[in-house]
Amino acid sequence: MGFFTRFLIPNPSPVIYTSMVAIGITILLIVFGLTHFKKWFYLWSGWLTTVDHKRIGIMYLIAALLMLFRGGVDAVMMRAQLAIPDNKLLDSQHYNEIFSTHGVVMILFMAMPYIMALMNFVVPLQIGARDVAFPRLNAISFWLFFMGAMLFNISFVIGGSPDAGWSSYFPLAGNEFSPHVGTNYYMIAIQIAGIGTLMTGINFMTTILKMRAPGMKLMRMPMFTWASLVTSVIIIFAFPVLTVALIMGTMDRLFATKFFAMTDGGMDMLWANLFWVWGHPEVYILILPAFGLFSEIIPTFSRRNLYGYRSMVASMVFISIYSFFVWTHHFFTMGQAAYVNSIFSITTMVIAIPTGIKIFNWLFTMWRGRIRFTVPMLYSIGFIPLFTIGGVTGVMLAMSAADYQYHNTMFLVAHFHNVIIPGVVFAVLGAATYYWPKMFGFMLNERLGKWAFWFLTIGFCLAFFPMYITGLDGQARRIYTYSESTGFGPWNMVTFIGTVLMAISFFLIVYTVYYSIRHAPKDVGDDPWDARSLEWATHNPVPEYNFAIIPQVSSREAFWDAKYKGHELFKGDYEKIHMPNNSGGPFIMSCIFFVFGFALVFSIWFLAIMGLIGIFVCMALRSFEIDHGRYISVEEIKETEAKYGGVNK
């Protein structure tokens, strides 16, 4: 094999060539734009080197939206292929690659960073802190995630995409059945991003445990902070399992080890087990912060405090522990003893109970509330019934005997989209709208936002409810076509229409942002929603030090009580504020990680070793670096606060 032939796409098609050109043009345009408007320095000093949790949050948000687009294009292509029977739009290889990348991109590179965006932006504000515990590490987390995502995304133009599903089961994912480099990309890109996520977990757990404002006891924390804490714990326990599984998978593929091999004692089911020991907690890593966000939005727009605070916390803690004891439900059909299946059936069903408790708590919060139907609230109200359907079908799947019928059909696909879209996606879209003024100082247009909501919701129902039916009728997932005699055709056409509506809603959301940038009023005050928790006690957009004076908390809804019950949040005078310095280290090190990963994917050993050395050099330099941060002087604080109209008292 010549050196360069390895970079060729094994199964090229016009679509791929077009996207190559499109990528090339986009990169040129960006470079040209940055040069033309002389923005390189701004980009470097304002963003690439930042350690500010708010800016990192915003970068996560942008990355997540880009990945939503990428994953969405995959989705539209798949559903277009399935829209009519015996369609020839995509061949089976392309279909395999597309559903594999769709799954990985949506879960790991869209939903995760979207959650991370909100955690980064909101949590330090909610607990009245000036940053996270380890700001530099936070930047490393972001850039590792970003480089992992980029590495994964270039796969379809360089060397070929993974095609063994987002769960990448062996032996299918082994060299014998997946000979091209696609699955190497899977193993290595997810590894890099995963390390970043693990660091985020550690960072946020430390932050939340140690950096809360005086008076904020654990049981006074806002619900999203609670959710982030619990999520961090799950991340810390779940991600190392993924790390090990991916190391083994990588070694099987690159060094011919025998972990998951079919010969020499290898055990393919070990992969499935390790993957889901991580994978099931992972779905809760996504949904718990989403629950947390709904728990912020619903009380605000119902003008009532959250019903059942304690039971909300208890059920999250319960879920976090329990989520580690249900993983086998993902392969009931793969031959373990009946009693094993029975045990995991029961544990799976039990996990629906705390989820149900939360649903009732949200309903009771709204009960007799004065509800305002804003965009964030619409997403929350839409979430409740739709998510409940997803939960109920989950319990159906949890019955191991019945699962022989449902497993790997469209019914399963409908289930998990039914929990992830109304659960996670609604939450992050609603929350992004809710926190938009905090991030950027202006509101998103409500009218356009409502259009987007309705397109998304109706599109969602049209797209996924028919899958329950065709799934029960036996339409398998991950199969690129079906014959007319199956009768699946009309339902799949409905699904395709739903998909198009959802795609339109994506463009509506983008347009909403564009429109609002141009037309929305730029001064919305500090508390546009009449909200309840601490993040609203500072200005919009938030100054870099977050709070000029660290707030003193004496109740659960600190800001609400400050507004309406006369609690005093900000006591004392300005003092100089210690802030961390920016650093190019995280970005540079992550770039080297990218090169290292790329070299591994293609087995270019020389480059890989250079990359590894580069990474260690970065760490060594960091070890010797002396960095005491810097101070913002009282004059500067006064100036900034004057511009905003002073500390909210």
Binding site: A133, F134, L198, G201, I202, N203, M205, T206, L209, K210, M211, I236, F237, A238, F239, P240, V241, T243, V244, A245, I247, M248, M251, F255, A256, T257, K258, F259, A261, T263, D264, G265, G266, M267, L270, L274, V277, H578, F616, A620, S623, F624, I626, H628
Partner: protein, 198 residues
């Protein structure tokens, strides 16, 4: 940076306390990492294919030597931290250097052990058992190697900058790491070697 003199140096600033807690949490993640490796090891231990089983390749002498070296090093770094608390920079540095030398000795034995296995026909690729064996031992060994570099950096920094809140903090955290590797080794010794030899 406020320094709290009622606390030991390594705990004396807010950032120091955060660092230590954060590192404990990191060790929690490390426990999960090794737990996963152990779980995989137990799953694959009898799946030797055509290759040798543990009982055939394990030898007690090098393993005992490794155990002795690493346990001693863990003890010595404890002395080092004690010296640091008393403010004896010289003694602390001596203990740290001894720790690192013992670690180096451990690594030397481990590498020769691996070479022996290789000559006895147990390579990374021989069977699922050898794959997981080498990966588990190798992950621990890689941690030790990284620790050697890290420890050296810290020794250099303490030497040059003296015992400051930062260097004391780093040294203390490094000692946590080193003790942790020791504990992992005890598990390896018991559940891989002792169990495998019987």
């Amino acid at each position: 940076m406020k320094i709290d003199h009622s606390q030991p140096l390594e705990y004396s600033t807010e950032q120091n306390r955060l660092n230590i807690l954060g590192f404990w949490i990191f060790l929690g993640a490390e426990i999960m990492l090794f737990a996963t490796l152990f779980a995989s090891y137990f799953t694959l231990v009898d799946r030797t294919g055509d290759g040798p089983a543990g009982a055939r390749i394990f030898e007690i002498t090098p393993v005992l030597a490794e155990t002795f070296l690493l346990l001693t090093s863990s003890f010595v770094i404890g002395l080092g931290i004690h010296a640091m608390r008393l403010g004896h920079k010289k003694a602390m540095l001596t203990f740290f250097v001894i720790t690192l030398l013992l670690g180096l000795g451990f690594l030397g034995f481990e590498i020769t052990e691996f070479i022996t296995y290789y000559h006895e026909g147990a390579t990374l690729q021989t069977s699922a058992f050898t794959s997981v064996l080498f990966t588990t031992l190798g992950t621990h060994g890689a941690h030790v190697t990284l620790g050697l570099f890290w420890g050296t950096f810290i020794v250099l920094q303490v030497k040059k900058r003296g015992l400051t809140p930062e260097t004391a903090n780093k040294s203390f955290i490094f000692s946590l790491y080193w003790h942790f590797l020791d504990i992992v080794w005890i598990f390896i010794f018991t559940f891989i070697y002792m169990k495998g030899m019987t």
